[in-house]
């Protein structure tokens, strides 16, 4: 089961992203070249929730940067869905520095709207609505340093969703929060995804998180980064971690991942 094959059954759903034999090599300062990605093939349809799973440093972030256009691939091609534009309807949630520290929560959330010339009053009301949606009602005027780690990630998600993205890229957004907060955030994200049907590509190194969130889990191999295999997750949401299907998948993926280490 490789990711390269194009799934004909979902032909009627428009494509959001297609990667064909994408490779990326970095030139280090000493002249040595490091292959970060090799032969990555991927097809994502609109409305899908895809999780990319792999060890830190396996090129997942590089892949996201290629998608957003922050970096350019050396090999292969990358095609975005017709209506997708960077700086317009593609949002990116990072793990760190997700909010501007000089802006309040509400004004962080409305940053994208401000850049689009939306009037102040409307920006404010949309920001408050967005913050309410992520459970931060009453924190409109708080600065990021006054919020906890989990609350900051909530605000960051509100900030990304405020521009009504068609593609949402998330780079280990819950990597720096504790376990129970993480579970809450995962639940919130799932709810938001089911409500908006935004295409989400979510990078994580946490197997549990990949299974809880994704409709598909792509397992990355290291050095060079490559998609090793793919798991389709059909478990009903909200997903129960104690479910035997869940644990079976967990063990399967775990085995796949540890197999790479040998």
């Amino acid at each position: 089961m490789t990711s390269g094959e194009i799934n004909n059954s979902s032909k009627e759903i428009p494509m959001a992203l297609e990667l064909h034999k994408v490779g990326k090599t970095f030139q280090s300062d000493t002249g040595a070249s490091v292959k970060a990605l090799e032969d990555v093939n991927l097809l994502v349809h609109q409305g899908e929730f895809v999780t990319l799973l792999g060890a830190t440093g396996c090129g997942k972030t590089t892949l996201l940067n290629l998608i957003t256009g922050l970096d350019v691939a050396n090999e292969g091609h990358l095609r975005l869905g017709e209506d997708l534009r960077f700086g317009d309807n593609i949002a990116h949630v990072f793990q760190h520095y997700t909010l501007f520290p000089w802006r309040t929560a509400a004004s962080n959330v409305s940053f994208g709207l401000q850049m689009r010339g939306v009037r102040r009053a409307e920006r404010q009301s949309r920001a408050v609505a967005m913050l309410t949606k992520v459970g931060l009602r009453g924190f409109e005027n708080a600065y990021p340093h006054e919020l906890s780690g989990g609350m900051r990630q909530r605000a960051a998600i509100a900030q990304a969703l405020a521009i009504e993205p068609k593609l949402l890229l998330m780079d280990e957004p819950f990597g720096a929060v504790d376990d129970s907060t993480r579970t809450e955030l995962q639940q919130m994200l799932t709810d938001l995804w089911q409500e908006n049907q935004t295409t989400i590509i979510f990078v994580t190194h946490n197997i549990d998180e990949a299974i809880v969130l994704g409709s598909r889990v792509l397992v990355f191999r290291e050095r060079p980064g490559k998609i090793a295999c793919e798991f389709k997750i059909d478990l009903p949401r909200p997903r129960d971690r104690m479910n035997s299907e869940f644990t079976k998948l967990f063990i399967q993926i775990r085995t796949k991942l540890s197999g790479q280490l040998d």
Partner: protein
Amino acid sequence: MVFVIFVGGFFPILTNTLDGVAGVRRNYLLLAQTLGAKRRQVFWYVYLPASMPMILTGLRQGLGLCWFVIIAAEMLPGAESGIGYLLIYASDNAAMDIVIASMLIVGGIGALLGLMMRKIMSGLVRWHGKEI
């Protein structure tokens, strides 16, 4: 006098502003770009607020330096008024009471200016030093 003030204030403001702009985290630029900021908007909404603490630090240092440069300039031959002039004039005439009073006033005003700038700063950039 304007020239003296300019020279005194210019460099601390310039170097601090440059440091501030150079120190803007790349992440904030990326974040702004993904949220749709154009070049001009990145300047106004990221570079400017992000380097505001350093710009204000420059202003504070510049202001302090200006104050002492003015006093020093007033002490030079050719000056005919000012507290620096008064200080030199009093010391030439062995009026120690006036010399000490002048020194206290110079120091006091300097400290007050510094304090005032600090207050303005902490009001304007509440977030500074608490970066996340």
